[in-house]
Symmetry: C2
Subunit: 434 residues, 2 copies
């Protein structure tokens, strides 16, 4: 008994076209496997003439998304943005039509409102594709690992950033050059800020943290730094110390308190996350029962994202078939932590690069400032200027610390930068010894 | 509206105790997240006195599994083996009680019979823990990646073997020594054949292949080689060539035909699978829509296995709550391939080590034999005896080939071993350039 489910796609851009293509191409095998036959019944967009490389029956194309919502069983929102997309989702839910979306920015911003709308009309809203693209990590977190209290989640979740960092590391090309190249190749947007300043990763981190710890955090409490200021010099020094620099989302519970932060992070080159290169994403989830797990794959792109959207559509279809709507609800509140830490309250290991004029007393003065802030040094490396490939007027001092509190680290840096022989801003990266 | 689901565990060994522990420890958070409250209502075993380190109400312990089946909503089979376990599962299903099992050997051997029993009584049978322990890879394959036609699955799925190979590679200890040590540590069984001869991996490969390609293959058509004959010398040579040797399950479709094989394989040291060490497992799934994905974690052990069993119990509970039994059926037949290839019909790259007496004409004679069998050489390395750490009376020739057919490779090896100056069996490994 195959159940037919009429699908309407609103937003016929890259992802929308990928979803249409996947339904057309693999609908038969999906039906054989699941008993759900997805029928591509309508596609709404303002632009109906651009060539998406697909053979679509022109009768199913429309400019009128409201009409489309009326005639389908389930709606895919692939418009993007946080204004029209939100109205579309609310209208679909208002008509008791289940919704599948990949819209991480909208979910992070207005998730609670959308979920309330879904609850009041008892319709599903699924959003697997919003985090790490094709990797079924939301299903893993909510279903496959449901028996676990989540100790931590570490994610490399922005392909653009990971591509740029991989190229910088492997080919010794600086940030601006790689970004420009990535823009030419279509790996980076013309306006790249959402990606490279860390906000896209932060949206995804907010969603995973919410699912792990039972409160819809939104993006506001997420501490965010991007990758613009990463220099080849620090990538090189990190490599010499056995680390790679990755833009990492860090979500973890320590002594009952939760941290959610996104920043460039030194991770061991031998770790699984250290080995995720180019546009690939990886999410490491540590559960109290299962231990360490990793989910890896393509975090973006037309086809990978479509894979996740269509999987959600099958879940929607099964819920329609069995009348099991909201079997796995979009979100279930119930905080499972003590408090959310401010960045100043966290404790971690640090990498510091201090550019100094080489004269007597430098090391003693720096060591004293760190000691005063209760920061313990694990490695101290002074490089001679001539060892370096580049021409530096000054000498870099590299310091790796043991765990220290962020607040004390900032106080120490402020003191360090007052020293006469410190020539530049102190460069700081946090370290995770995964 | 939390639904209570009474759970009965049959088999109070390592995994059964882990399941009980997880329900007791995390039942509250599972109920908050899912609306399903798992109640530990009964545990059946022959041995009710051994200390499992848990505080269990003695009233729920019984020697009589039939009585237990009668009074619970769902049954966990953690007896193991293929005789009693099968009877238990059939009895539970006969009483319309859903079953969760981790029993890969039984599933590979008698899956069709169990699934038919489940179908006739419309009860669920779930088996996430049967493949790769705590990693939710069956859920990923059947649900998260349901939109994909599966191009290939590569799995490191036996922790014992991976631990032994990692130790051999990293510490230069030979197979017999590491095996003995692993047995002391409890990483390997006293009777290690199931693991080290590849059969455990083959059971798991058969299950994944069946889910990917729509026919319940069982273990019979799976080609299996274990790791007993891997020498430190080959691990060292592989490393010099940029490869690691892993016991790999290879399931793939090439030109419509399916291959299922388990054997030691050279994989690039820079690949994700090449970086899976110690007891960890990893399953790489390549789908036509999502591209390459990897699922990584602990493949065995009390807690990790329990994580998967309890996740299945939640799915069972949700199906009971919503009346959506068999929402994702245990298995749905529908072959999606042309034919299953015999090992002789496959084509792959090979590593050959040929021990020869060093005299004129050796290379020419070997090259001629390979050429006659249409085997093309990609690297040819002759090492001088004194380069090697060990004392060899003979010189090893290393040959890496381009793709060649297994049948022709075997014919070539048979000819090579007839040559006067070839002193030993030719050592062969297959290569996957992941």
């Amino acid at each position: 008994m195959v159940k037919e489910v009429k699908i309407g796609i609103i937003g016929f851009g890259t992802v929308g076209a990928g979803v249409a293509e996947t339904i057309l191409k693999n609908g038969d095998v999906i039906a054989r496997r699941t008993g759900i036959k997805l029928i591509l019944s309508g596609i709404a967009d303002i632009d109906l003439t651009s060539n998406r490389g697909l053979e679509i029956d022109p009768d199913i194309l429309t400019n009128d998304y409201r009409q489309l919502i009326g005639k389908v069983d389930a709606v895919v929102e692939t418009v993007g943005g946080t204004t029209t997309a939100k109205n579309i989702i609310l209208e679909a839910l208002g008509n008791c039509k289940p919704v599948v979306t990949a819209n991480k920015a909208l979910l992070a911003e207005a998730g609670e409102e959308l979920f309330a709308a879904a609850e009041s009309c008892e319709a599903d809203i699924y959003y697997e594709a919003s985090v790490a693209g094709g990797i079924p990590v939301i299903k893993a977190l909510r279903e496959g690992l449901v028996a676990n209290r989540i100790k931590s989640i570490y994610g490399i979740m922005n392909g653009t950033c990971n591509y740029i960092l991989t190229r910088m590391e492997c080919d010794g090309v600086d940030f601006a050059t790689v970004l420009n190249e990535a823009q030419q190749l279509g790996y980076a947007e013309k306006e790249p800020s959402l990606d490279i300043d860390g906000y896209d990763t932060a949206h995804k981190a907010a969603i995973l943290a919410s699912l792990a710890y039972g409160r819809w955090f939104g993006i506001k409490p997420v501490y965010v730094e991007g990758i613009r200021d990463i220099s080849l010099l620090d990538i090189k020094f990190a490599a010499e110390l056995g680390y790679r620099i990755k833009l990492l989302a860090i979500i973890k519970q320590v002594d009952g308190d939760v941290q959610i932060r996104v920043h460039p992070t030194l991770v061991p080159e031998t770790s699984m996350l250290g080995n995720i290169s180019n546009v690939f994403n990886g999410v490491m989830i540590d559960g109290d029962t299962v231990g360490e797990t990793l989910f890896y794959g393509r975090g973006a792109g037309r086809a990978a994202t479509a894979s996740a959207v269509v999987a959600d559509l099958v879940d929607v279809g099964l819920n329609l078939k069995f009348g099991s709507h909201r079997r796995v609800p979009a979100f279930r509140i119930g905080p499972q932590y003590r408090k959310l830490l401010d960045i100043n309250e966290i404790s971690t290991r640090y990498y510091l690069r201090i550019q100094v004029k080489d004269h007597p007393g430098v090391i003693a003065a720096i060591a004293e400032i760190l000691t005063n802030e209760n920061i313990s040094i694990s490695s101290f490396i002074q490089r001679e200027a001539q060892e370096l490939d580049d021409n530096f007027a000054n000498v870099p001092l590299l310091i790796l610390t043991h765990h220290a509190q962020e607040k004390q680290m900032k106080a120490a840096i402020s003191e360090l930068e007052k020293l006469d022989f410190v020539c530049d801003k102190v460069k700081l990266f946090r370290i995770e010894d995964l």
